[in-house]
Symmetry: C2
Subunit: 730 residues, 2 copies
Amino acid sequence: MKKHLLSLSAFLIVLGTASAQNQQQLEKTFDSHLSSENIGKTIKELTLRPHYLGSPGSKEVAENLLAKFKSYGWDAEIATYQVLFPSPKVRILEMTAPTKYKAVLKEPAYKEDATSGHPDQLPSYNAWSADGDVSAELVFVNFGLPEDYLTLEKLGIDVKGKIVIARYGRSWRGIKPKVAQEHGAIGCIIYSDPKEDGYYQGDVYPKGSFKNEFGVQRGSIMDMVIYPGDPLTPFIGATPNAKRLAREDAENLLKIPVLPISYHDAQPLLESLGGPVAPEDWRGALPFTYHIGPGKTSVRLKLEFDWKIVPAYNVIAKIKGTDYPDQWIVRGNHHDAWNPGANDPISGIASMMEEAKSIGELVKNGYKPKRTLVYCAWDAEEPGLIGSTEWVEDHVAELKQKAVVYINSDGNGRGFLSAGGSHGLESMVDGIAKDVIDPQTNVSIYDRLKAREIVSAGSDKARKDNMAKKSMSISALGSGSDYSAFLQHAGVPSLNIGFGGENAGGEYHTAYDSYDYYSRFGDPGFNYGRALSQTIGRAVLRMANADTLPFEFKNLHKTISSYVTEMISMTDQMRESTAVYNQVISGNNHQLAADPAKPEKLPIPKAEVPYIDFSVLQNSLVKLESSALALSERIAKGNIPGTSLKALNEALYQAEQSLLTKDGLPRRPWYKHTIYAPGFYTGYGVKTMPGVREAIEQRDWKEAQDQIRISADAINRLAEHLNNTTKLAQ
Amino acid sequence: MKKHLLSLSAFLIVLGTASAQNQQQLEKTFDSHLSSENIGKTIKELTLRPHYLGSPGSKEVAENLLAKFKSYGWDAEIATYQVLFPSPKVRILEMTAPTKYKAVLKEPAYKEDATSGHPDQLPSYNAWSADGDVSAELVFVNFGLPEDYLTLEKLGIDVKGKIVIARYGRSWRGIKPKVAQEHGAIGCIIYSDPKEDGYYQGDVYPKGSFKNEFGVQRGSIMDMVIYPGDPLTPFIGATPNAKRLAREDAENLLKIPVLPISYHDAQPLLESLGGPVAPEDWRGALPFTYHIGPGKTSVRLKLEFDWKIVPAYNVIAKIKGTDYPDQWIVRGNHHDAWNPGANDPISGIASMMEEAKSIGELVKNGYKPKRTLVYCAWDAEEPGLIGSTEWVEDHVAELKQKAVVYINSDGNGRGFLSAGGSHGLESMVDGIAKDVIDPQTNVSIYDRLKAREIVSAGSDKARKDNMAKKSMSISALGSGSDYSAFLQHAGVPSLNIGFGGENAGGEYHTAYDSYDYYSRFGDPGFNYGRALSQTIGRAVLRMANADTLPFEFKNLHKTISSYVTEMISMTDQMRESTAVYNQVISGNNHQLAADPAKPEKLPIPKAEVPYIDFSVLQNSLVKLESSALALSERIAKGNIPGTSLKALNEALYQAEQSLLTKDGLPRRPWYKHTIYAPGFYTGYGVKTMPGVREAIEQRDWKEAQDQIRISADAINRLAEHLNNTTKLAQ
């Protein structure tokens, strides 16, 4: 440690030049203050009691984090918002026919898991379910996705007036009740099938890491693809005096009762179903023949919630930048959890606090970031990204002016680097990934990730392509954590970073996401917690110290081009396959091939797919390419006058805002980014170029053509912005 | 009926011209004598009691069939062979650790199934298991195929000295103990997993058609890919005085005990296994985490058999041909069954007897086939195609001289036409498929099959290709029924024809393959039984009456060409993928991508794939193409002198023998066909151009090159033969 400090002092003298060597030395020192053991201690400390939004435990955690930030030398405060939050009062699920069964709805305590019997535990439920007392026949709807309802239609099964049971998986959970409601269902049960999440995957808890028969995945079903955050205050911060919607006017709340259950509770219901045998891809791993219903099986679902306005405590900590105090490097992770939340979110927040501690040490030893660091521990992420969304909405103008980047993390685990976000930052992430060492293999986290991509590739061609790759690709971001408001609403360049892939298990959103679980199965030794601090810490320090911010828009151009190519080919493919589909129908083939003993509705022809004009989009990409190239060449040349730097950097980080559209996406104006959004029918899953892509997928050709123009305008704005940025460097 | 008979008389007068119109009228009359109801009656009558080889029931069935043939006006006799057949004396399977469990090994009787409790029932066992009493640790080997042992090796698990448990599926059952024995296992258990064969597929018997927890698939594990038939008399008929091998010298008998069990009996064994969690594609549908073992689970397997020489009764019935009595149209189906055998084989034999009855009626009304009809009801198919093989071996010289064709059927059910065999007969099958009407849809069985191929195609390209097709393709034959000795040993052009695909269930080789089951789930109304009689009856009558036999070798050339193209591309593909495979290894990617918590052996590089010389094969195909074309054109021209017809036809049906090779396939000289054979590691599954293809698959490049030459010689012989045939028509 001493040696590092000496080197540090030596380099601090020349920090003004921000040379690569100095930055490297700074990062080495930064690393020296990171302790896996301490990360483990933080996780243990913050998971002693349940700490969901509005609970005493949550306030305790927020105050603990506040005190920690202060003790590390940060300016810290708690920013409180007043937000709606339903907690369960009545939860009854009963099968009333053909036999009686009353669902357990309870996860038992285990001696191997110290916090599993905590009296503060939040029962299993889906936040934002409607209140209701409904009784009806039960229908199994597989994963509850739009394509599953096409199968039901083919089989002549209507869910109108029925209660549906869907299994978790293949989509964000909120899609299932949303689609059920669209089809007229009056209630929705979501269960974890052991096929996706239970004994089929591996030994169950507490023997192994997978979901046992009683485990229940809690979670929000707010329709956050419309807008996330407090349902009563879209577009504005949920300050005490904010103008609030009536709850029934909140467009992102469903109208039917929804309850998640275990496979122990699902088994008697599913096993008793009559009706047709479920198609092969509808079958799970429970030991009986899956049927769809309806018929002999009826259930009653009664749910009541306490709909309270509760305080959400965001902890905001800052270290002021010396040169550019109004350029903010924002970093965040939520702190609220459904219960102990050792993985989700405490593993992430423990790494973030370790970064904060280490940066505090650097500052105590004389380091001064050029830009302001803003570290945020969000409350109320679980019910719908509420803490971060309210803060962004409350400070949106300031953030558009000042926020250089938002770097998010959430649950973290053993395994491989996973990074998504704004493609203008792809080359920076690539550089970092090549500098951080994987704790298990002692090669870089880039090399390890690349090895896995090579080994797990689906074809020899993909394997060869992966071997030939020289840099890392980052994914596009959908939703599911606190970057949404920053990136998709405010246009702040964002990253979401974590490790995982070797921590498979079933603890997610159950009472067993505990320290005992996490230290056995999540990240034993907490070394990936340290790796996360190293990775994000580098991003923070590099952006805080850079003379010229490490944006590279050539990558963005390349990525958007690939999306456009993909959509053109998808449209051609749809045209071709629609023609074949219709030809198969007109040849009477379905009727002849069908099994007369299993009557099914015959498919009907689809409208032909027209040719779409992508040229404005293609032309905008030509402009973007040359403007990105010119900017890149100018920056590479160096010798940018010191007086230009502030404005140049501002232009660089504000560039992403050119991609926002004033009116937002069709039917969801809160989402303003033309390149990245959560899918309307995937939820967490991203749809890139969502306006165009979803219109094509929904076969709305008029809207597709409109959205092509809107997206092309956005790309043209970005090209123009980059041209102006290049001029600033003169 | 009367109207038809009148028309018939009219056409019999002109039958000598064998015009298409007359043939059509004959077939219409033939159809008029076929009764679905009567087929159902025959099935019921022949399934009243178990009738496996050597049982009193089997003798009864043979005598019943003999009497039927005679009553229909056929010359019929029983040809008896003396063959080895083991029946079970002792069957014990116990788990001895970690807990005790004694396997039930018994299928209960159900009131819904009248014959399910018959006292003559043959217990569940695998014929040709060795005697043995072994105790060892248990290892789960998935489907027990060579690739599963590669996975075991990767996981560091050796089955040497262990007892393995494999699930039914993905290969002929006999491959599983064979590969287990090759790897040093001392015993093998085969069970039906509900994933492939049980509740996962649908409702179980007697509620539904799928295998219930007690059902056991019996069956032979004779290594019939070496040679089928009586193990003691390869190459020769098992006549009373035939020279017999000692049992221990029979190369197609395994040396380890093998027992099939139900999933009820498998569950406690599999559930108790320790060791690594089974990879995803190893997991079945039982409700626990599948582990591989070995370790804490030990079992004892004790099996003793009564190894007796028993009589096999083949029923052979003839109607002598008028013009060419020494040209035989041979038709067969076995009559022995593991128990009642309503589907396997009685549904097939009932259709065959219906043909025999109808042909008898035609003959009574004056019809005289030009060629001799030989109808055969084989005994001892189930233990290893024994009845048919011994008969063929006993008459091989005569068959090579006289047999025009062998047309086989076996179990039959509701659904779609399935036809395989010699591609020289493909166009004949195509013509028939377009003439027979599907009983459920009233279009031709060709149109219905084509519709299914279109609807179930895996890609738009395949759908379009299928829609564009104008004729039916027949598949190549592997093994699994009585055509093997005819086609693959004697070179008699063969066909195997049946219906199915809408009769899915779990009765196969259980005690529940009964009339009660079959009339509910197999072919309710027995209309596909009648369709089978119509289809095969047409083949028999067309070949019996034809002036020039309907062989078309252009189809054969096209088919062999496609095999060669496929093998060339497979070899190129292996070369490319081996290079990539080795490159992935040399880049250290497996080591970096591996989960250190789950140690696995790293893969080692494979030898590079050399370029192989396929040119002799390609040149032989050029010759075959022109010779087939010339012959086809000559026949199409017509006006063949009556004096040439006998020799021409003989040359046509003997052409297939050119494709035999004197020495047979490597390591299995009994199999002499260079184009069709059962796969050495697939069993029932065909390997086309087996000598070349299996050498490539096994990466034996020297043998591949040798086999290319041998196959090219065969094809050149065929081309030469066809040239000579064309000359005969002058």
